[in-house]
Amino acid sequence: MEKIWLCGWADIEDGDCRGFDPFDEGRDRLFVVRQGNRAFAWRNACPHRGYEGSTMAWRKHAYLNAGRNRIVCSSHGAQFDIETGECLAGPCPGQALEPATVHRDEFSQLYWLTNRMQEK
């Protein structure tokens, strides 16, 4: 397991979301929603049948609905629970987002814990 630096904790506004493209591929690998002291990290990969793995944002960092209480896939409008990743509405009922593991260290820096070899 490797620690890949994402950002400082304060770089994600409370209630907001940030997408991360740590390998500079032009599309995010993961995104993190911050709620108070908690962070919920998910793979940028919609589980929607036939479109598995589709990128979900419509613009950089734009993964949430207007009320910022759901994750929305802007491919076909699927909505997901921020905490559980479960699909709540839209084209992939019964499916869920794949979690990513992130860690906030003692200096309030946020890291993605992953195996780079398996990512590539």
Binding site: G26, R27, H48, R49, G50, S54, T55, M56, A57, W58, R59, K60, A62, N65, A66, G67, V72, C73, S74, S75, H76, G77, A89, G90, P91, P93
Partner: protein, 310 residues
């Protein structure tokens, strides 16, 4: 039955401000934009209309919650409108609106509007390229590459529905509204062309489970492939998320570049679609990556090969 194609697509959305911004940045001309929504026009007046999802003036949403609330078709004249009203009135409610348009549901439950088309005739130059041997070239000392070129979508091209029953959906458009099948992906559905246009398709149906019913994408025609590539690049530079392309389809020959959108559908730039008339024999094939595109590129960052040798 001279239906020309979609004049307007009406969406009921969660995030009105983001949709307004998105369609403006896509290149459409914003009209009557407010916190309640707006209309976003191509050069010929065809448009996307954005409203809040709770707006009570909109037709009811599909059970899946798809954001597309109405597809408004432009027809040649009042006579066609009456023909459609009479045909659909046989087995369903046809609503007549004060503006003269009519409204009814298709056999899948999509709300359709019909109006005498608002399309303004276009008279615009094509891109002229310098092709060896060609009679018309751009000309001497005429520059082709223009970073600041004004690129505005010309006309609303087509919309793609996810439908739970492709046979029934197709029969409605073919038998009741006179659409022709241009080509067909046997496992997905038909590309459909109404009688008032030569465009390969203005509607494509994709067979899916019922919980997916809704819209895959819509697109406007740009002037040519150069405009498509340049408009798409600008859209990426504004932070928007490419989904597929740029590339070129096989059926229809149109160049494509698809993006995610805050309406929760894909939005495409499209250029150079084939034209057909009724002498065209539809092709049919099972869909696959190979038959759906000739090529598919991904935008790469600009770079300077060799750097600075000095």
């Amino acid at each position: 039955m001279k239906i020309i194609g979609p004049d307007s697509l009406v969406f009921g959305v969660d995030d009105v401000a983001s949709c307004n911004q998105y369609l403006t940045d896509y290149g459409l001309i914003p009209k009557e934009v407010s916190a309640e929504g707006g209309r976003f026009e191509a050069l010929d007046g065809t448009n996307i209309e954005i409203r809040h999802k709770e707006d009570t003036s909109l037709p009811a949403p599909l059970p899946t919650g798809s954001t597309l609330r109405k597809t408004v078709y432009g027809v040649a004249d009042e006579g066609v409108l009456e023909q459609i009203a009479a045909e659909l009135g046989k087995d369903r409610e046809v609503i007549r609106h004060a503006d003269g348009s009519i409204e009814a549901l298709d056999d899948m439950g999509f709300a359709l509007g019909f109006q005498v088309t608002i399309r303004r005739p276009l008279s615009l130059p094509d891109e002229i390229v310098n092709a060896p041997g060609a009679k018309a070239n751009r000309g001497i000392n005429v520059i082709g590459a223009d970073e600041d070129a004004d690129i505005v979508p010309r006309t609303l091209s087509h919309v793609v529905y996810f439908v739970p029953d492709q046979k029934k959906a197709e029969a409605f458009y073919v038998e009741r509204l006179g659409f022709r099948v241009a080509d067909r992906f046997t496992n997905l559905g038909p590309f459909l062309r109404p009688q008032g246009t030569l465009d390969h398709h203005t509607l494509f149906l994709v067979h899916t489970p019922p919980e997916m019913q809704g819209v895959e994408h819509f697109t406007f025609h740009l002037g040519n492939p150069s405009e498509l590539l340049q408009a798409g690049k600008r859209f990426v530079d504004k932070g928007y998320e490419s989904f597929w392309g740029p590339g070129r389809h096989v059926y229809g020959s149109n160049w494509f570049w698809y993006f995610n959108s805050p309406m929760g559908v894909h939005v495409e730039y499209d250029a150079d679609m084939d034209l057909h008339d009724d002498s065209w024999e539809p092709r049919a094939v099972e869909s696959s990556a190979d038959v759906s595109q000739i090529f598919n590129f991904t935008l790469a960052k600009k770079w300077m090969p060799g750097g600075d040798p000095h």
